[in-house]
């Protein structure tokens, strides 16, 4: 057999049916469902008189619109309440396991899957959500799909897919202190552009990726879609196995060893060919801050807001002009001179325990700047919330002036009450700085948890490297 990439190995293991000139039918091992993109799919099933083929491979969670406080009170948002009711009913009628708002396992779908061990290496995972790539951190082929495809997977447990091209992103060297997985992925997107990965599955490799914890690898894979790629993956290794062992849905005892032996076969063969290769040096990546209205509009914390006239392509120039107008920024402004109104630490990109610990190290014993109107710390899951509280992180955040919330998507998408008001500026650990993403007229700057925490204390962006804080747990 010719050498294969990890993507090709997982693909080959999941082909149900192939015919020349047609997309392949591939089997889906895990289907994750949330309230935001599933109601119409279940309606479609009902209309077609179809059942969920494998409810035992499907699990659902409430995350996008959930309130992050006062959950014991009735929902104020009637439209959201109707959507939650629909999910409850659909899961009941079709026999799908649901972690609802009251469940101690509730959280953001891409946080809950891995933490329960639902996500495992070698699987195919889909979800009606573009950040499904997060699960690729385990050596899993995971990607987002639309609602019609959600219905297709519910009905058939398969998906009709054309094979993607492959891209290897190798991050060599070591991060410096204060630089995180978030900075690595923002730098990658800055390099390849927001459409650089279109049509590709990315495999992240190299010393700097290997050195990341599972949390860090999830942060990197999470934002693959921001580089245009539907899926991103990292080969499983001892870090992966150690993370998975003992999690509720992972095989136990002897079965775990069998699983690990299989997982070890997944890595790309040494001489496997990728359609394109990109290399970065982690040592040369400073903390990153976005200045515009897509994640590719990003620069170093030591840099400044670019001049639209520096873009050669007229279309890009106009895009930069529009972005600066929306963001209320002038060309040449130093990133460190940009002050922020609100801080959001959360989202499927950066809401895991390691992220919260990192931010807590920055704010411990300090107070948020008086100009900060609000600072939110929103754990990715109720389990993370409980673990963080055991370590006393909640007290650290609250003492510093943060609000400590329940788990959900929160101000990443602002479908609940956590909204960035028009004209205000946020330092956010989420993944999208699109116009209106955190609230109509809101101005989002994407950064790492360390950088967001430091912005909360200073009231403006600062180069966290000067504060000498540990970037991650390892």
């Amino acid at each position: 057999m010719p050498p294969r990439t990890m993507y090709e190995k997982i693909w080959d293991a999941h082909v149900v049916h192939e015919e020349p000139g047609q997309p392949s039918l591939i089997y889906i091992d895990r289907h994750l469902v949330h309230e935001g993109t599933s109601a119409q799919a279940f309606s479609g099933l009902r209309a077609g008189g179809r059942a969920v083929r494998r409810p035992d491979l499907t699990f659902a969670v409430m995350d996008h619109s959930v309130p992050t406080k006062d959950r014991h009170l009735p929902l104020a948002d009637a439209v959201a309440a109707a959507q939650f009711d629909a999910l409850e009913k659909n899961c009941r009628d079709f026999g799908v396991l649901l972690f609802n708002m009251q469940s101690p396992r509730q959280g953001i779908v891409h946080v809950v899957g891995p933490e329960l061990g639902i996500t495992q290496p070698g699987q195919t995972i889909v979800c009606g959500d573009s950040h499904t790539a997060t699960h690729g951190a385990f050596g899993t082929l995971a990607f987002g799909i639309g609602t019609s495809e959600v219905e297709h997977v519910l009905a058939t447990q398969c998906l009709s897919q054309f094979k993607s091209k492959t891209m290897l992103v190798r991050v060599n060297g070591r991060r410096v202190r204060g630089v995180t997985a978030k900075d690595i992925i923002l730098a990658i997107i800055g390099r390849i552009g927001v459409a650089g990965g279109t049509g590709h599955v990315i495999e992240y490799a190299g010393e700097a990726i290997r050195a990341l914890s599972m949390e860090g690898r999830m942060t990197v894979c999470n934002m693959s879609i921001e580089g245009g790629a539907r899926a991103g993956m990292v080969a499983p290794d001892e870090t992966t196995f150690a993370y998975l062992e003992g999690r509720p849905y992972v095989p136990h005892g002897k079965d775990f060893q069998v699983a690990v032996d299989y997982w070890k076969t997944l890595a790309s063969d040494a001489d496997a060919r990728f359609d394109s290769v990109v290399e970065l040096d982690a040592a040369k990546i400073p903390p990153q801050v976005t200045w515009g209205t897509n994640p590719g509009m990003v620069t170093d914390v030591t840099g400044s807001v670019p001049d639209p006239n520096s873009f050669r392509d007229p279309v890009d120039r106009r895009a930069a002009e529009a972005a600066l107008a929306y963001m209320g920024l002038k060309p040449g402004t130093k990133i460190a001179d940009i002050s922020v109104d609100r801080v959001f630490i959360g989202s499927c990109t950066n809401s895991r325990l390691e992220d919260l610990r990192a931010a807590a190290r920055v704010v411990a014993g300090k107070k948020i700047a008086p100009t900060i109107k609000s600072a939110l710390a929103v754990p990715g899951s109720m389990q993370i919330k409980a673990l963080a509280e055991k370590e006393g992180l909640d007290t650290i955040f609250i003492d510093a002036g943060f609000e400590w919330r329940d788990a959900g998507c929160s101000m990443c998408i602002a479908m609940n009450a956590d909204v960035l008001p028009s004209g205000e500026r946020s330092a956010s650990t989420s993944n999208r700085n699109f116009e209106g993403r955190q609230g109509k007229g809101g101005r989002t700057h994407l950064v790492s948890p360390l950088m967001a925490a430091a912005a909360a204390i200073s009231g403006h962006f600062v180069d966290i490297r000067e504060w000498n804080v540990e970037s991650s747990d390892e």
Binding site: V16, H17, G21, Q22, L25, R30, G36, T37, A39, Q40, G48, R50, D56, T58, F59, D77, A80, A82, Q83, L97, G122, Q123, G128, D129, S130, I145, G146, T147, S148, E149, H152, A155, T156, Q157, C158, S160, F162, V194, A195, I225, G228, R230, P248, Y249, P251, D255, V258, A259, N294, V315, R318, A319, A414, M415, R432, F434, E435, G436, R437, K440
Partner: protein, 207 residues
């Protein structure tokens, strides 16, 4: 899905790169549980001022682009979120065809599932179409999927290419799930061949 063979319609243009699906349908409308009625909210934050008053500065609000059914767009159209609400809104608004230099992957799939034809053309041809649309009010294009051409009444003729399988699906309006279920025996065979590794890929038993 509605079959697509040939379509003639007025052209509107959206001169912006990287238009993301958050702009097409903002988050507040993702709480609806139906597939209908998204046309009114298409490009909501660009299209409306406070109180849902049409913003005269937004291109689709210009009188000359009313009734357009072909949208001419820029690179990486439909990037970002996987929300299928975006194609639902475009279709409900009246668009049947979108022409651009490139599209984002998930959006591309989602449009096909809804019978919207996406045509990818090289930048110079896109420029030419932008020029022609801007130059003449009431500019129309005919998009023919059968012979894969785009033409106007002023001598323009452009060939485009789409994947033959996708073309067949669109021409016939095939139902995807129906197509897959023809392979029920293969799916079942695959599932039983998995039995020895059921521990790895098997059911999510509640523990």
């Amino acid at each position: 899905m509605t079959p697509f063979t040939k379509h003639t319609g007025f052209v509107a243009l959206l001169d912006r790169v990287n238009v993301d699906t958050d702009q097409m349908v903002p988050k507040q409308f993702l709480k609806w549980v139906t597939r209908e009625g998204y046309g009114r909210v298409l490009f909501y934050d660009w299209r409306y001022l406070e109180g849902e008053i049409p913003n005269p500065d937004f291109v689709l609000n210009q009188p000359r682009y009313q009734g357009a059914s072909v949208l001419l767009a820029r690179a990486n159209f439909g990037c970002g979120s996987s929300r299928e609400h975006a194609p639902w809104a475009l279709q409900d608004y009246g668009f049947r065809v979108i022409v651009a230099p490139s599209f984002a992957d998930i959006f591309y799939n989602n449009c096909f599932k809804n019978g919207i034809l996406l045509v990818t053309l090289p930048e110079p041809q896109i420029e030419e179409l932008f020029r022609r649309t801007a130059a003449r009010e009431g500019y129309r294009l005919t998009v023919n999927l059968e012979d894969e051409t785009i033409s106007d009444d002023a001598g323009l003729g452009i060939a485009f290419q789409i994947d033959p399988f996708r073309r067949q699906c669109l021409l016939n309006g095939w139902d995807d799930i129906g197509l897959t279920l023809r392979h029920e025996d293969r799916i079942r065979a695959y599932e039983s061949s998995r039995q020895p590794s059921a521990k790895l890929f098997g059911p999510l038993l509640n523990r």
